[in-house]
């Protein structure tokens, strides 16, 4: 996969899943949550984020509840989330939704809101276009890359249909 360019939206440490996808209506329903995604930290974000942009965050992004908050971010067209570290469940779930999360300790302090980045998700590299510096993210577990290649969990299951006794084979 080739690298893609986009602008960075920056967030701090410990951004929790409830502030990405607030408790309203039913658990797990994206619904109107896209209108409010991350507004607690940056009211401009849900209004101005563009498809292809990146989120750059500090430690423990997506911490807490396992509500599928990555789907709300994905619905906004964000291409990847790059953070110092991510909440474990958020990290696993979001790759499973077909949205990449790269853990790259130290990234947050080097990026400001609006910076242009060039990100290669497969290689796990993030190039800061203002300085030319390239950072290397931590290795993504092979199973998550496999899932991502199939567009997320549902595609991955379909692509391996034969392995499931619980699925009809035809």
């Amino acid at each position: 996969m080739t690298a893609t360019n986009g602008k960075a939206w920056t967030f701090g440490d410990h951004v929790n899943s409830e502030s990405i996808m607030p408790s309203k209506g039913a658990v797990g329903e994206v619904g109107s949550a896209t209108d409010h995604v991350l507004e607690f930290y940056d009211p401009e974000f849900p209004k101005k984020v563009q498809p292809g942009d990146f989120i750059v965050a500090g430690r423990n992004f997506g911490a807490s509840s396992g509500r599928p908050s990555g789907e709300v971010i994905k619905a906004k067209g964000v291409k990847a989330i790059i953070c110092d570290s991510a909440g474990r469940v958020f990290y696993r779930n979001t790759w499973n939704m077909g949205l990449a999360v790269l853990q790259c300790p130290g990234i947050r302090s080097k990026v400001e809101k609006g910076d242009d980045l060039e990100v290669d998700i497969e290689a796990g590299t993030i190039k800061l276009l203002k300085t030319g510096e390239t950072l290397q993210a931590e290795e993504t577990p092979w199973i998550l890359l496999d899932i991502y290649h199939e567009g997320g969990m549902v595609g991955w299951i379909k692509s391996r249909r034969k392995e499931y006794k619980t699925l009809e084979q035809n």
Binding site: E18, P22, A26, F40, G66, S85, V89, P141, E168
Partner: protein, 418 residues
């Protein structure tokens, strides 16, 4: 070659391997799958197409009654109805419907997990089952795949050992101690780690009070929180576990990445202040803060011992007229025990609203929601922005402190009330 921790040994067994190494990706057989809101997972099934059934009708547990004791709107009524249909269609045998109570208590109480089991769940507090020596870990979105394969992948976590010694002073409960430990470890202090709890303090607790420690490991970012099963656990499991089991124990020479030794002899009551569950402070720092609602219940406060602590404070007293006091038993077993011990009467006399069993207003999905600008204190596990409103202030404390604060109308040290 050093030995292995209980977490490593459970994962090795479940993955059919002699041993596992830290950081390795293993695929484990799952013994129990907990789901509180499978609606969108059933929609995944529709997208996949041709789903005949879940992998094992005995091992999938759905607790629709976790978030709601009754549907409070047409929308929720429709959702629970579609969950009922989905369970039937996909052969899910264990459905705990409206009024059944809080799922994590039910998983243990009804024997769906046991020492040595691997349990995953759609709820982030699935770490709860570590209190009986099971490996409980949240998976959430991925539970769709687990329902079809009966397997889940893990990155084998290094283990942090937390040794807790000493006796607490009167008025300080296991909820305070667990809150204290969470404050020390921090919101990401156990990210991708297992946390193992041990020590004489832990061994004196009931399994329900131990559950606070395993459950709150999620608030530290952990993969699982666990304890070696002891006589208390084995006795509780007798005749309860849904299948025969062989407990798994860690090796005496297991290695840990970090060891925390905590003495609780002089610990004062604790409180978590907004906006993080791990923002633990001595209660004195929050004293005098006026409250609008107090809530005893939730997955770190819905047990019978929690109800007894609250009743000890509330006996012969009344909640402050400007405070709504909610008492939320975790399960019908707790609710019935409250009745037979006369606790329900004490709560009624105190002016409390006693709800049917469920998980409470922790995330404002059923009743007891609070408005912007309001302040709540509760025994539940989370106080994050967006969970119970964005502009609300939530404090987390023990049943003693929560009940005393309800009487005083402001956050208060419970000790003068005991």
């Amino acid at each position: 070659m050093s030995g292995h921790t209980i977490t490593e040994k459970i994962l090795a067994k479940a993955a059919g391997k002699k041993e596992v190494s830290i950081g390795e990706i293993v695929i484990a057989d799952v013994d129990a799958l907990f789901m509180h809101s499978p609606g969108y997972k059933f929609r995944h099934f529709e997208n996949i197409g041709g789903v005949k059934s879940v992998w094992d009708p005995e091992k999938v547990v759905v607790a629709s009654g976790h978030h709601h004791f009754l549907p409070h709107s047409q929308e929720v009524a429709d959702q629970v109805q579609s969950v009922r249909k989905g369970c039937k269609r996909y052969g899910i045998k264990h459905l705990y419907d409206m009024g059944s109570g809080l799922g994590h208590y039910l998983m243990v109480e009804r024997g769906h997990v046991w020492p040595g089991a691997v349990a995953v769940g759609s709820d982030s507090h699935t770490t709860a089952y570590g209190c009986i020596g099971a490996l409980g870990s949240p998976m959430n979105f991925e539970t769709t795949e687990v329902m079809l394969s009966g397997k889940a992948w893990f990155k084998v976590p290094p283990t942090i050992l937390v040794k807790i010694e000493g006796n607490t002073i009167r008025g300080v409960s296991a909820r305070d101690v667990a809150q204290h430990v969470l404050g020390i470890v921090g919101a990401d202090g156990a990210l991708w780690h297992a946390v193992e709890f041990t020590g004489s303090y832990i061994s004196r607790l009931s399994i329900w009070q131990r559950m606070f420690f395993s459950l709150l490991t999620t608030e530290m970012g952990g993969t699982c929180g666990i304890m070696q099963p002891d006589e208390v656990v084995l006795k509780y499991m007798e005749g309860r576990s849904r299948q025969p089991f062989e407990p798994v124990y860690g090796d005496a020479d297991a290695s840990y990445v970090k060891v925390l030794e905590i003495d609780v002899s002089e610990l004062e009551p604790q409180v978590a202040v907004p906006p993080q569950p791990s923002n633990t402070r001595p209660l004195a720092d929050a004293e005098g803060k006026k409250i609008d609602q107090a809530y005893v219940g939730g997955c770190t406060g819905g047990g019978i011992e929690d109800m007894r602590m609250a009743a000890e404070v509330l006996r012969g007293r009344k909640a402050h007229p400007e405070v709504r006091l909610l008492i939320v038993p975790g399960t019908p077993v707790v609710q019935n025990q409250m009745l037979s011990e006369g606790l329900t009467q004490i709560f009624a006399d105190a002016g409390a609203i006693v709800t049917p069993p469920y998980c409470g207003p922790c995330q404002m999905l059923c009743v007891g929601n609070i408005s912007d600008g309001e302040v709540m204190i509760g025994t539940h596990p989370r106080n994050l922005p967006g969970r119970s409103g964005a502009a609300t202030e939530i404090y987390l404390a023990s049943p003693y402190t929560t009940a005393a604060s309800a009487v005083a109308g402001a956050i208060t040290d419970p000790r003068p009330y005991l």
